[in-house]
Symmetry: none
Subunit: 232 residues, 2 copies
Protein backbone atom coordinates (compact mmCIF):
# COMPACT_ATOMS: atom_id res chain seq x y z
CA UNK A 1 0.00 0.00 0.00
CA UNK A 2 1.14 2.89 -0.50
CA UNK A 3 1.97 0.37 -3.09
CA UNK A 4 -1.42 1.09 -4.35
CA UNK A 5 -2.37 4.69 -4.10
CA UNK A 6 -5.86 4.07 -5.30
CA UNK A 7 -8.62 6.21 -3.89
CA UNK A 8 -12.24 5.27 -4.29
CA UNK A 9 -14.24 8.45 -4.70
CA UNK A 10 -17.95 8.08 -4.03
CA UNK A 11 -19.74 11.12 -5.37
CA UNK A 12 -22.91 11.55 -7.36
CA UNK A 13 -22.30 15.03 -8.69
CA UNK A 14 -20.35 14.24 -11.82
CA UNK A 15 -18.91 17.66 -12.32
CA UNK A 16 -17.59 17.88 -8.82
CA UNK A 17 -16.39 14.31 -8.95
CA UNK A 18 -14.39 15.00 -12.06
CA UNK A 19 -12.83 18.06 -10.49
CA UNK A 20 -11.71 16.18 -7.44
CA UNK A 21 -10.55 13.27 -9.53
CA UNK A 22 -8.41 15.49 -11.73
CA UNK A 23 -6.95 17.22 -8.76
CA UNK A 24 -6.04 14.04 -6.96
CA UNK A 25 -4.62 12.49 -10.09
CA UNK A 26 -2.48 15.55 -10.59
CA UNK A 27 -1.08 14.72 -7.19
CA UNK A 28 -0.09 11.17 -8.03
CA UNK A 29 -3.11 9.32 -6.81
CA UNK A 30 -5.11 6.92 -8.85
CA UNK A 31 -8.82 7.54 -8.55
CA UNK A 32 -11.76 5.24 -9.12
CA UNK A 33 -15.18 6.88 -9.33
CA UNK A 34 -18.40 5.44 -8.07
CA UNK A 35 -21.71 7.22 -8.34
CA UNK A 36 -24.06 4.65 -6.99
CA UNK A 37 -24.22 4.07 -3.29
CA UNK A 38 -25.41 0.53 -3.72
CA UNK A 39 -22.29 -0.53 -5.52
CA UNK A 40 -19.83 0.95 -3.09
CA UNK A 41 -19.36 -2.10 -0.94
CA UNK A 42 -18.74 -4.36 -3.88
CA UNK A 43 -16.36 -1.85 -5.39
CA UNK A 44 -14.49 -1.57 -2.13
CA UNK A 45 -14.05 -5.32 -2.09
CA UNK A 46 -13.03 -5.63 -5.70
CA UNK A 47 -10.67 -2.72 -5.91
CA UNK A 48 -9.36 -2.70 -2.38
CA UNK A 49 -8.52 0.99 -2.44
CA UNK A 50 -6.09 2.61 -0.02
CA UNK A 51 -8.75 5.09 1.08
CA UNK A 52 -12.38 5.91 0.43
CA UNK A 53 -13.75 9.41 0.06
CA UNK A 54 -17.45 9.20 0.74
CA UNK A 55 -19.96 11.87 -0.13
CA UNK A 56 -22.95 11.55 2.11
CA UNK A 57 -25.58 13.00 -0.15
CA UNK A 58 -26.04 9.97 -2.29
CA UNK A 59 -29.08 8.71 -4.09
CA UNK A 60 -29.89 5.13 -3.35
CA UNK A 61 -28.44 4.81 0.08
CA UNK A 62 -28.06 6.83 3.19
CA UNK A 63 -24.45 7.72 3.69
CA UNK A 64 -24.23 6.94 7.34
CA UNK A 65 -25.66 3.48 6.94
CA UNK A 66 -23.34 2.96 4.06
CA UNK A 67 -20.37 3.91 6.16
CA UNK A 68 -21.38 1.51 8.86
CA UNK A 69 -21.92 -1.32 6.43
CA UNK A 70 -18.68 -0.58 4.72
CA UNK A 71 -16.59 -1.03 7.81
CA UNK A 72 -16.61 -4.79 8.05
CA UNK A 73 -15.53 -4.99 4.44
CA UNK A 74 -13.06 -2.19 4.35
CA UNK A 75 -10.44 -1.59 6.97
CA UNK A 76 -8.70 1.42 5.50
CA UNK A 77 -9.41 5.07 6.19
CA UNK A 78 -12.75 6.57 5.25
CA UNK A 79 -13.06 10.29 4.70
CA UNK A 80 -16.55 11.72 4.77
CA UNK A 81 -17.46 14.66 2.67
CA UNK A 82 -20.65 16.62 3.06
CA UNK A 83 -22.35 19.94 2.58
CA UNK A 84 -22.22 22.33 5.48
CA UNK A 85 -25.94 22.46 5.95
CA UNK A 86 -26.34 18.75 5.84
CA UNK A 87 -28.45 17.30 8.57
CA UNK A 88 -25.83 14.66 8.99
CA UNK A 89 -23.80 15.67 11.90
CA UNK A 90 -20.06 15.58 12.01
CA UNK A 91 -20.06 13.85 15.36
CA UNK A 92 -22.40 11.19 14.10
CA UNK A 93 -20.29 10.62 11.03
CA UNK A 94 -17.18 10.06 13.07
CA UNK A 95 -19.02 7.74 15.38
CA UNK A 96 -20.22 5.68 12.49
CA UNK A 97 -16.69 4.74 11.64
CA UNK A 98 -15.39 7.55 9.49
CA UNK A 99 -11.83 8.63 10.16
CA UNK A 100 -12.19 12.18 9.03
CA UNK A 101 -14.97 14.49 8.05
CA UNK A 102 -14.58 17.41 5.68
CA UNK A 103 -17.25 19.98 4.94
CA UNK A 104 -18.00 20.96 1.36
CA UNK A 105 -17.07 23.02 -0.42
CA UNK A 106 -13.67 21.72 0.50
CA UNK A 107 -10.59 23.52 -0.51
CA UNK A 108 -8.75 21.01 -2.65
CA UNK A 109 -5.47 21.36 -0.84
CA UNK A 110 -7.16 20.84 2.51
CA UNK A 111 -8.74 17.68 1.20
CA UNK A 112 -5.39 16.56 -0.15
CA UNK A 113 -3.63 17.29 3.12
CA UNK A 114 -6.20 15.34 5.09
CA UNK A 115 -6.03 12.42 2.70
CA UNK A 116 -2.26 12.39 3.01
CA UNK A 117 -2.44 12.56 6.79
CA UNK A 118 -4.79 9.59 6.90
CA UNK A 119 -2.70 7.53 4.53
CA UNK A 120 0.51 8.41 6.29
CA UNK A 121 -0.93 7.38 9.60
CA UNK A 122 -2.55 4.22 8.42
CA UNK A 123 0.13 2.87 6.18
CA UNK A 124 3.14 4.07 8.11
CA UNK A 125 4.13 0.71 9.42
CA UNK A 126 3.89 -0.89 6.06
CA UNK A 127 5.29 -4.37 6.30
CA UNK A 128 6.09 -4.23 2.66
CA UNK A 129 9.01 -2.00 3.35
CA UNK A 130 11.80 -4.40 2.77
CA UNK A 131 11.49 -6.20 6.04
CA UNK A 132 11.00 -9.90 5.94
CA UNK A 133 7.50 -11.21 6.40
CA UNK A 134 7.28 -14.20 8.67
CA UNK A 135 4.35 -16.55 8.90
CA UNK A 136 5.37 -19.58 10.85
CA UNK A 137 7.55 -21.69 8.62
CA UNK A 138 7.05 -19.37 5.71
CA UNK A 139 9.39 -16.44 5.29
CA UNK A 140 9.24 -13.86 2.53
CA UNK A 141 12.24 -11.61 1.99
CA UNK A 142 11.32 -8.69 -0.23
CA UNK A 143 14.85 -7.36 -0.21
CA UNK A 144 16.03 -10.51 -1.95
CA UNK A 145 12.74 -11.48 -3.58
CA UNK A 146 13.24 -14.80 -1.93
CA UNK A 147 10.87 -17.15 -0.18
CA UNK A 148 11.79 -19.73 2.43
CA UNK A 149 9.64 -22.60 3.57
CA UNK A 150 10.92 -24.33 6.68
CA UNK A 151 14.34 -22.89 5.93
CA UNK A 152 14.40 -24.24 2.39
CA UNK A 153 14.27 -21.79 -0.45
CA UNK A 154 11.21 -22.06 -2.67
CA UNK A 155 11.85 -21.11 -6.27
CA UNK A 156 9.02 -18.94 -7.51
CA UNK A 157 8.49 -17.37 -10.87
CA UNK A 158 8.19 -13.64 -11.07
CA UNK A 159 4.42 -13.52 -11.11
CA UNK A 160 4.12 -16.17 -8.50
CA UNK A 161 6.25 -14.11 -6.19
CA UNK A 162 4.31 -10.91 -6.86
CA UNK A 163 1.08 -12.70 -6.19
CA UNK A 164 2.28 -14.23 -2.96
CA UNK A 165 3.60 -10.92 -1.72
CA UNK A 166 0.35 -9.17 -2.51
CA UNK A 167 -1.58 -11.79 -0.60
CA UNK A 168 0.80 -11.98 2.32
CA UNK A 169 1.08 -8.22 2.72
CA UNK A 170 -2.63 -8.11 3.36
CA UNK A 171 -3.01 -11.34 5.18
CA UNK A 172 -6.44 -11.86 6.64
CA UNK A 173 -8.16 -9.80 3.99
CA UNK A 174 -10.03 -11.15 1.04
CA UNK A 175 -8.45 -9.98 -2.16
CA UNK A 176 -10.51 -10.15 -5.32
CA UNK A 177 -9.20 -11.56 -8.55
CA UNK A 178 -9.63 -8.12 -10.01
CA UNK A 179 -7.41 -6.54 -7.41
CA UNK A 180 -4.77 -9.21 -7.73
CA UNK A 181 -4.85 -9.03 -11.48
CA UNK A 182 -4.46 -5.28 -11.52
CA UNK A 183 -1.70 -5.55 -9.02
CA UNK A 184 0.35 -7.91 -11.11
CA UNK A 185 -0.45 -6.82 -14.62
CA UNK A 186 -0.89 -3.38 -16.01
CA UNK A 187 -4.02 -4.06 -17.90
CA UNK A 188 -7.70 -4.32 -17.34
CA UNK A 189 -9.31 -7.33 -15.80
CA UNK A 190 -12.07 -8.59 -18.02
CA UNK A 191 -13.81 -10.52 -15.30
CA UNK A 192 -13.24 -13.85 -16.97
CA UNK A 193 -9.50 -14.27 -16.97
CA UNK A 194 -8.41 -17.41 -15.17
CA UNK A 195 -4.74 -16.56 -14.96
CA UNK A 196 -4.89 -15.78 -11.28
CA UNK A 197 -6.42 -19.17 -10.58
CA UNK A 198 -3.58 -20.88 -12.34
CA UNK A 199 -0.95 -18.87 -10.46
CA UNK A 200 -2.67 -19.67 -7.19
CA UNK A 201 -2.68 -23.30 -8.10
CA UNK A 202 1.07 -23.19 -8.75
CA UNK A 203 1.70 -21.33 -5.56
CA UNK A 204 -0.22 -23.81 -3.49
CA UNK A 205 1.74 -26.61 -5.02
CA UNK A 206 5.05 -24.97 -4.27
CA UNK A 207 4.01 -24.06 -0.75
CA UNK A 208 2.69 -27.54 -0.06
CA UNK A 209 -0.79 -26.25 0.44
CA UNK A 210 -3.61 -28.62 -0.26
CA UNK A 211 -6.30 -26.87 -2.32
CA UNK A 212 -9.03 -29.09 -0.90
CA UNK A 213 -8.22 -27.91 2.55
CA UNK A 214 -5.82 -25.04 2.31
CA UNK A 215 -3.99 -23.79 5.33
CA UNK A 216 -2.27 -20.89 3.64
CA UNK A 217 -4.23 -19.60 0.68
CA UNK A 218 -7.93 -20.01 1.08
CA UNK A 219 -10.47 -19.68 -1.70
CA UNK A 220 -13.41 -17.49 -0.85
CA UNK A 221 -16.14 -18.62 -3.14
CA UNK A 222 -17.41 -15.82 -5.33
CA UNK A 223 -15.02 -13.31 -3.83
CA UNK A 224 -11.37 -14.11 -4.18
CA UNK A 225 -8.50 -15.42 -2.17
CA UNK A 226 -7.34 -15.01 1.39
CA UNK A 227 -3.91 -15.47 2.86
CA UNK A 228 -3.96 -16.89 6.36
CA UNK A 229 -1.34 -15.46 8.63
CA UNK A 230 -1.71 -17.62 11.69
CA UNK A 231 1.10 -20.05 11.82
CA UNK A 232 0.54 -23.34 13.44
Amino acid sequence: MSQNSLILLVEDDRRLAQLVKDFLEANDFQVALEENGNRVIRQAQNLNPALIVLDLMLPGKDGLTLCKELRPNFKGPILMLTARDSDVDQVLGLEYGADDYVIKPAEPRVLLARIRALLRRYYQNDPREQEALNFGELCIQPSARKVLLAGQEVILSSHEYDLLLALAAQAGQILSREFLFNHIYNREYDGLDRTIDVRISQLRKKLNDNPENPTRIKTIWGKGYLFIADAW
Copy 2:
Protein backbone atom coordinates in the same frame (compact mmCIF):
# COMPACT_ATOMS: atom_id res chain seq x y z
CA MET B 1 1.34 1.27 23.86
CA SER B 2 -0.63 3.28 26.26
CA GLN B 3 -3.82 1.42 26.77
CA ASN B 4 -4.54 4.27 29.16
CA SER B 5 -6.86 7.07 28.28
CA LEU B 6 -4.54 9.87 29.22
CA ILE B 7 -4.66 12.95 27.07
CA LEU B 8 -1.97 15.57 27.23
CA LEU B 9 -3.59 18.95 26.71
CA VAL B 10 -1.21 21.70 25.69
CA GLU B 11 -2.93 25.04 26.06
CA ASP B 12 -1.85 28.35 27.53
CA ASP B 13 -5.24 29.88 28.10
CA ARG B 14 -6.03 28.56 31.55
CA ARG B 15 -9.71 29.21 31.48
CA LEU B 16 -10.19 27.45 28.20
CA ALA B 17 -7.88 24.66 29.23
CA GLN B 18 -9.92 24.02 32.33
CA LEU B 19 -13.10 23.91 30.33
CA VAL B 20 -11.75 21.36 27.92
CA LYS B 21 -10.21 19.37 30.73
CA ASP B 22 -13.48 19.19 32.63
CA PHE B 23 -15.36 18.19 29.56
CA LEU B 24 -12.96 15.43 28.63
CA GLU B 25 -12.82 14.17 32.19
CA ALA B 26 -16.57 14.06 32.24
CA ASN B 27 -16.23 11.71 29.31
CA ASP B 28 -13.92 9.28 31.03
CA PHE B 29 -10.60 10.55 29.90
CA GLN B 30 -7.74 11.48 32.15
CA VAL B 31 -6.25 14.81 31.25
CA ALA B 32 -2.81 16.24 31.96
CA LEU B 33 -2.38 19.96 31.42
CA GLU B 34 0.73 21.63 30.12
CA GLU B 35 1.00 25.36 29.59
CA ASN B 36 4.56 25.73 28.55
CA GLY B 37 5.61 24.74 25.08
CA ASN B 38 9.14 24.04 26.15
CA ARG B 39 8.12 21.29 28.48
CA VAL B 40 5.85 19.44 26.08
CA ILE B 41 8.39 17.03 24.71
CA ARG B 42 9.57 16.01 28.15
CA GLN B 43 6.02 15.62 29.33
CA ALA B 44 5.18 13.50 26.35
CA GLN B 45 8.02 11.19 27.19
CA ASN B 46 7.29 11.06 30.88
CA LEU B 47 3.56 10.63 30.74
CA ASN B 48 3.30 8.69 27.51
CA PRO B 49 -0.21 9.91 26.83
CA ALA B 50 -2.56 8.19 24.44
CA LEU B 51 -3.03 11.39 22.51
CA ILE B 52 -1.84 14.99 22.53
CA VAL B 53 -4.08 17.99 21.95
CA LEU B 54 -1.82 20.82 20.88
CA ASP B 55 -2.79 24.46 20.83
CA LEU B 56 -0.63 26.30 18.38
CA MET B 57 -0.71 29.75 19.94
CA LEU B 58 1.80 29.06 22.61
CA PRO B 59 4.29 31.30 24.28
CA GLY B 60 7.78 29.97 24.23
CA LYS B 61 7.67 27.92 21.13
CA ASP B 62 6.15 27.95 17.73
CA GLY B 63 3.54 25.27 17.46
CA LEU B 64 4.54 23.89 14.12
CA THR B 65 8.13 23.44 15.13
CA LEU B 66 6.95 21.85 18.29
CA CYS B 67 4.84 19.39 16.41
CA LYS B 68 7.72 18.46 14.21
CA GLU B 69 10.06 17.99 17.15
CA LEU B 70 7.48 16.01 19.01
CA ARG B 71 7.11 13.39 16.34
CA PRO B 72 10.30 11.43 16.90
CA ASN B 73 9.46 11.17 20.60
CA PHE B 74 5.79 10.58 20.38
CA LYS B 75 4.21 8.12 18.02
CA GLY B 76 0.59 8.53 19.03
CA PRO B 77 -1.98 10.81 17.47
CA ILE B 78 -1.58 14.57 17.68
CA LEU B 79 -4.60 16.82 17.36
CA MET B 80 -3.90 20.45 16.55
CA LEU B 81 -6.13 23.16 17.84
CA THR B 82 -5.99 26.73 16.67
CA ALA B 83 -7.91 29.94 16.20
CA ARG B 84 -9.65 30.43 12.90
CA ASP B 85 -7.66 33.50 11.99
CA SER B 86 -4.37 31.92 12.82
CA ASP B 87 -1.68 32.37 10.24
CA VAL B 88 -0.83 28.75 10.72
CA ASP B 89 -2.42 26.95 7.93
CA GLN B 90 -4.37 23.75 8.28
CA VAL B 91 -2.52 22.15 5.41
CA LEU B 92 0.81 23.06 6.91
CA GLY B 93 -0.20 21.65 10.25
CA LEU B 94 -1.17 18.34 8.78
CA GLU B 95 2.04 18.21 6.81
CA TYR B 96 4.07 18.81 9.91
CA GLY B 97 2.85 15.58 11.36
CA ALA B 98 -0.46 16.37 13.00
CA ASP B 99 -3.18 13.78 12.56
CA ASP B 100 -6.07 16.12 12.85
CA TYR B 101 -6.64 19.81 12.96
CA VAL B 102 -9.59 21.48 14.64
CA ILE B 103 -10.39 25.18 14.47
CA LYS B 104 -11.24 27.08 17.65
CA PRO B 105 -13.65 27.73 19.03
CA ALA B 106 -14.30 24.05 18.84
CA GLU B 107 -17.58 22.61 19.80
CA PRO B 108 -16.74 20.26 22.65
CA ARG B 109 -18.57 17.30 21.21
CA VAL B 110 -16.83 17.71 17.88
CA LEU B 111 -13.51 17.71 19.64
CA LEU B 112 -14.54 14.66 21.58
CA ALA B 113 -15.69 12.83 18.47
CA ARG B 114 -12.44 13.55 16.69
CA ILE B 115 -10.38 12.47 19.67
CA ARG B 116 -12.32 9.24 19.82
CA ALA B 117 -11.92 8.64 16.10
CA LEU B 118 -8.17 9.08 16.37
CA LEU B 119 -7.86 6.82 19.36
CA ARG B 120 -10.08 4.18 17.87
CA ARG B 121 -8.04 4.11 14.73
CA TYR B 122 -4.66 4.19 16.38
CA TYR B 123 -5.14 1.83 19.25
CA GLN B 124 -7.07 -0.84 17.54
CA ASN B 125 -4.48 -3.53 17.45
CA ASP B 126 -2.93 -3.77 14.12
CA PRO B 127 -5.50 -2.59 11.65
CA ARG B 128 -4.97 -5.60 9.44
CA GLU B 129 -5.59 -8.10 12.16
CA GLN B 130 -9.08 -8.76 13.29
CA GLU B 131 -9.58 -10.38 16.60
CA ALA B 132 -11.31 -13.66 17.02
CA LEU B 133 -14.83 -13.62 18.35
CA ASN B 134 -15.38 -16.04 21.18
CA PHE B 135 -18.73 -17.23 22.44
CA GLY B 136 -18.19 -20.14 24.73
CA GLU B 137 -17.37 -23.13 22.61
CA LEU B 138 -17.87 -21.17 19.44
CA CYS B 139 -14.94 -19.29 18.02
CA ILE B 140 -14.99 -17.19 14.86
CA GLN B 141 -11.69 -16.23 13.33
CA PRO B 142 -12.12 -13.50 10.75
CA SER B 143 -8.44 -13.51 9.86
CA ALA B 144 -8.74 -17.05 8.57
CA ARG B 145 -12.47 -17.02 7.84
CA LYS B 146 -12.69 -20.03 10.01
CA VAL B 147 -15.18 -21.16 12.61
CA LEU B 148 -14.42 -23.53 15.44
CA LEU B 149 -16.98 -25.35 17.55
CA ALA B 150 -15.50 -26.96 20.61
CA GLY B 151 -12.13 -26.89 18.91
CA GLN B 152 -13.38 -28.60 15.77
CA GLU B 153 -13.48 -26.65 12.57
CA VAL B 154 -16.93 -26.15 11.08
CA ILE B 155 -16.95 -25.91 7.32
CA LEU B 156 -19.25 -23.11 6.28
CA SER B 157 -20.13 -21.88 2.84
CA SER B 158 -19.29 -18.33 1.94
CA HIS B 159 -22.73 -16.97 2.65
CA GLU B 160 -23.17 -19.02 5.74
CA TYR B 161 -20.02 -17.53 7.14
CA ASP B 162 -21.04 -13.98 6.23
CA LEU B 163 -24.38 -14.49 7.85
CA LEU B 164 -22.91 -15.89 11.02
CA LEU B 165 -20.41 -13.08 11.24
CA ALA B 166 -23.11 -10.47 10.78
CA LEU B 167 -25.16 -12.01 13.53
CA ALA B 168 -22.28 -12.57 15.89
CA ALA B 169 -20.85 -9.11 15.39
CA GLN B 170 -24.09 -7.69 16.70
CA ALA B 171 -24.88 -10.32 19.22
CA GLY B 172 -27.87 -9.50 21.36
CA GLN B 173 -29.50 -7.35 18.72
CA ILE B 174 -32.41 -8.40 16.61
CA LEU B 175 -31.46 -8.27 12.98
CA SER B 176 -34.18 -8.18 10.38
CA ARG B 177 -34.17 -10.39 7.34
CA GLU B 178 -33.90 -7.30 5.24
CA PHE B 179 -30.78 -6.17 7.02
CA LEU B 180 -29.17 -9.56 6.80
CA PHE B 181 -30.10 -9.89 3.18
CA ASN B 182 -28.63 -6.55 2.28
CA HIS B 183 -25.57 -7.36 4.26
CA ILE B 184 -24.86 -10.54 2.40
CA TYR B 185 -26.12 -9.76 -1.05
CA ASN B 186 -25.74 -6.51 -2.82
CA ARG B 187 -29.24 -6.36 -4.08
CA GLU B 188 -32.64 -5.34 -2.90
CA TYR B 189 -34.71 -7.42 -0.54
CA ASP B 190 -38.15 -8.02 -1.95
CA GLY B 191 -39.73 -8.85 1.36
CA LEU B 192 -40.62 -12.38 0.38
CA ASP B 193 -37.30 -14.03 -0.14
CA ARG B 194 -36.76 -17.05 2.07
CA THR B 195 -33.10 -17.41 1.39
CA ILE B 196 -32.10 -16.12 4.79
CA ASP B 197 -34.32 -18.69 6.47
CA VAL B 198 -32.62 -21.45 4.60
CA ARG B 199 -29.17 -20.15 5.43
CA ILE B 200 -30.13 -19.89 9.08
CA SER B 201 -31.38 -23.41 8.98
CA GLN B 202 -28.08 -24.63 7.59
CA LEU B 203 -26.17 -22.66 10.15
CA ARG B 204 -28.14 -24.10 13.03
CA LYS B 205 -27.52 -27.57 11.73
CA LYS B 206 -23.81 -27.01 11.44
CA LEU B 207 -23.60 -25.37 14.82
CA ASN B 208 -25.64 -28.09 16.48
CA ASP B 209 -28.32 -25.64 17.42
CA ASN B 210 -31.77 -27.05 17.90
CA PRO B 211 -34.34 -24.80 16.15
CA GLU B 212 -37.07 -25.83 18.57
CA ASN B 213 -35.06 -24.51 21.40
CA PRO B 214 -32.16 -22.59 20.01
CA THR B 215 -29.30 -21.59 22.22
CA ARG B 216 -27.37 -19.68 19.62
CA ILE B 217 -29.59 -18.24 16.92
CA LYS B 218 -33.02 -17.35 18.14
CA THR B 219 -35.96 -16.56 15.91
CA ILE B 220 -37.82 -13.40 16.80
CA TRP B 221 -41.21 -13.94 15.36
CA GLY B 222 -42.18 -11.26 12.86
CA LYS B 223 -38.90 -9.43 13.31
CA GLY B 224 -35.85 -11.44 12.48
CA TYR B 225 -33.06 -13.31 14.15
CA LEU B 226 -30.96 -12.82 17.22
CA PHE B 227 -27.57 -14.18 18.06
CA ILE B 228 -27.13 -15.04 21.71
CA ALA B 229 -23.72 -14.27 23.08
CA ASP B 230 -23.90 -16.01 26.43
CA ALA B 231 -22.34 -19.38 26.22
CA TRP B 232 -24.43 -22.27 27.20
